[in-house]
Amino acid sequence: MITDRAKAGFDRLLVASLKSGMSAGGASVRVGAVGSLDRIRENKIVVLTVSSYLFRAIAILYFRPDAATRAWFDRNAEEGAPALADAEFLDRVAECGNVCCGALNRELGAFFPHVGMSTPNIIDKDCMRYADLLACSLTKHYEIVLEGGPTLFATLCVADYGLVDFHVDPSAEAAVDTGELEMF
């Protein structure tokens, strides 16, 4: 069972993770909830999981390998650089998902120190028709509007194996400064 405040916590943490992960490079990002998968026309997904013995959270980022999406993921390329090859484009989307889910993993780690995260996998969106088999207690879909770029979508599914309860302070900032070198 996932308590209501834990569901709200997962929601807050995912939205914050999408905003921080997708804005790398300074782009403005707006994240809002959408009601169902019906609006989502993207045909590929990046899938990552954050797992513990109490729950498995599955973060899904939907994308379409079209010109607008390729251009956005190649926006920092030097002038005259060749266009992204397919493998490079998919790796950039996967790494973007990795950074977003990594932020979610770090924040969940403050409540569940034993969580572990997968590496990203890219699969067809058609696989989402089997998501019901996971019997998730929480499923929520999001729209990600990227300034000057495409609109992407995301889904968070959480399956629980016990009581999942935690509270995220809505006013709290992310605890980690990214990019800084911590010396030992």
Binding site: D91, A94, M117, E180
Partner: protein, 122 residues
């Protein structure tokens, strides 16, 4: 011959980090996972700094760090992890393996360049 080895299964991260360091005058080699990293380090005695991801297929970065100190008996190369992870448990494992530092992705080159230079010249 290189003096920095960047180990990451993501070509995006390898290109970004290696490209930044090369543009700043450093000699960089890359590896795609921990196994590849061990082989590249063994083959190039000039490498003074390893910058590695943690979560990778075949061999993760922390296992690679442990094998660098144990299996390769290399006690001098500096090792810095570049990862989305920030778990205290992982950091303790890294410290036990003698890693020098930890960076949470995304990579911000300007924030670490001076330290990387110092670790290469040490």
């Amino acid at each position: 011959m290189a003096n920095i080895l960047v180990v990451d299964d993501s070509s995006t991260v390898r290109d970004e980090v290696a490209g930044f360091l090369k543009r700043n005058g450093l000699d960089v080699a890359t590896a795609v996972d921990g196994k590849d990293g061990l082989a590249k380090l063994l083959a190039d005695p000039q490498i003074k700094l390893v910058v590695s991801d943690v979560n990778m297929p075949n061999m993760d970065g922390l296992t690679m760090a442990e094998k660098i100190r144990g299996q390769l008996n290399n006690k001098t190369v500096n090792i810095v992890m570049l990862t989305t992870e920030n778990s205290p448990i992982m950091k303790e494992r890294g410290k036990a393996a003698g890693i020098k530092g930890w960076i949470v992705k995304p990579f911000k080159g300007d924030a670490v360049l001076a330290t990387f230079r110092r670790l290469v010249e040490a």
